[in-house]
């Protein structure tokens, strides 16, 4: 059980961990500053630390910044059963947190699984949302990318028994997986990799790293298909100011496919603004992302 900030993260993660109860689980989050809130949502296998270079400029600009660790990651409770995790459950966790913190006029910044969960929360609590920012994610029921449809390596990574062995016993996603998904790999290895690995120290802590891939609707008729269809329809009907920021080098959720599809889904969205980065673009372009966000929010009066 990880409650303290992992040692490798202490130097650049000075924030006090706060804890909420959501759906019977302990959810860690950072809640700093005052003003219009910005909710920074991470995905698999990260935690709030992913946004460490985004937070300071937002705080300096007078924003309230809320950064939850998804249940199963970071300093939040890590349930030991796969059956404790579902897409709807994780959306509901965010809904609970947003209500408890009484966030209003909030900007939802959604990355990876912070996309489907954040969109689901925003569509459930639309009156609390002022704007969306979308990065390297998806929101429709078809397989996200050819990468996700292939046996090597994606389906194999989370296959029965292979997932618990590769991603659990060997912790492949928080270490090597993230390393492969940034541009400046040497910098990531020296500066950040240990902070992600230390948040998932034991095989059982890493459960969600192979469970989340199993919630991607890769085949016809599988679970969550209807929820993704609902997300797609909801975003199509949305009219919040929306910003698209994408990693120029992202070869999994590539901008030409995914940012373009979000642009078609939400025609009024601004961007995509391309920054240096692969899937975990915050690692390579945190300050640039913060600057884009602030300029977008200011210009839209959020």
């Amino acid at each position: 059980m990880t409650i303290a900030v992992p040692d490798p993260a202490r130097a650049d993660w000075p924030y006090t961990a706060r804890f909420a109860r959501v759906n019977g689980r302990r959810m860690a989050h950072v809640d700093e500053g005052s003003g219009a809130p910005v909710l920074l949502l991470h995905g698999n296998p990260a935690w709030g630390y992913l946004y460490r270079d985004v937070i300071p400029p937002l705080l300096a600009a007078g924003r309230r910044v809320v950064v939850p660790d998804m249940i199963g990651f970071g300093l939040s409770e890590k349930p030991r059963s796969e059956h404790a995790h579902s897409l709807d459950g994780h959306i509901s966790n965010l809904v609970a947190l947003v209500r408890q913190l009484d966030l209003r006029d909030a900007t939802f910044v959604c990355h990876d699984w912070g996309g489907p969960t954040g969109f689901g929360c925003a569509l459930t609590e639309p009156g609390r949302v002022a704007a969306l920012a979308i990065m390297s994610t998806w929101a429709w029921p078809s397989p996200p990318a050819a990468f996700h449809d292939a046996i090597f390596p994606w389906r194999m990574m989370h296959a029965p028994l292979v997932g618990p062995w590769l991603l659990g016993t060997h912790g492949a996603l928080a270490g090597r997986g993230m390393y492969l998904s940034v541009v400046d790999r040497a910098r990531f290895r020296d500066r950040a990799q240990a902070a992600y690995e230390a948040a998932l120290p034991d095989p059982a802590d890493r459960l969600l790293t192979w469970v989340w891939p199993r919630w991607i609707p890769l085949d016809d008729g599988v679970r969550a298909t209807a929820r993704f269809a609902w997300l797609e329809a909801g975003l199509r009907a949305s009219c919040w100011p929306t910003l698209l920021v994408w990693g120029r080098e992202d070869e999994v959720f590539d901008a030409a496919t995914f940012a373009a599809r979000f642009k078609a889904l939400i025609p009024h969205a601004e961007g995509p603004h391309l920054v240096r980065g692969r899937h975990f673009l915050q690692e390579d372009s945190g300050p640039e992302i913060a600057a884009l966000l602030l300029e977008f929010l200011t210009r839209n009066g959020v």
């Binding site: 390596p153 028994l161 292979v162 062995w165 090597r176």
Partner: protein, 130 residues
């Protein structure tokens, strides 16, 4: 593959030690079907665990799990059987697990392949994959 199905040994003097637990063996149903075929699970059910001998010569139990409302087996736990109070040789057990996974994937068959498993394990630099 050097992995063979064997009768489960008597457990006297052995210490069943869970190594790997899979709660959702039917996520891709062809994996569940492989275990049903390989261990005659439609007949055996929960009455007895399966067992394989791995390349090290050590036996490993496959304890199948049932869950109400789901086809059987819903999950499987692989257990090492070190003797008595002897600590587990983790490196050897991991090499054996890797061999068991390759045997499983080969048995599941196309589109799954041992080459894809080996490539994935090498990509993520798992020591057992060399």
């Amino acid at each position: 593959m050097d992995v063979t199905v064997i009768p489960a040994p008597a457990l006297d003097g052995l210490r069943p030690t869970p190594l790997l637990t899979e709660e959702r063996v039917g996520h891709y149903p062809e994996f569940r079907d492989f275990f049903r075929r390989s261990f005659d699970l439609d007949r055996v059910g929960l009455a007895a665990p399966g067992c394989v001998r791995a390349p090290s010569g050590n036996p490993y139990l496959l304890v199948f799990l049932g869950r109400s409302g789901e086809p059987f087996p819903s999950g499987v736990e692989i257990q090492a059987l070190p003797p008595g109070l002897e600590p587990l040789d983790e490196a050897e057990a991991d090499r054996d697990l890797y061999a068991i996974l390759r045997w499983m994937v080969a048995g599941v068959g196309a589109p799954w392949s041992v080459e894809a498993l080996e490539g994935t394990a090498r990509l993520y630099r798992v020591p057992a994959a060399g």
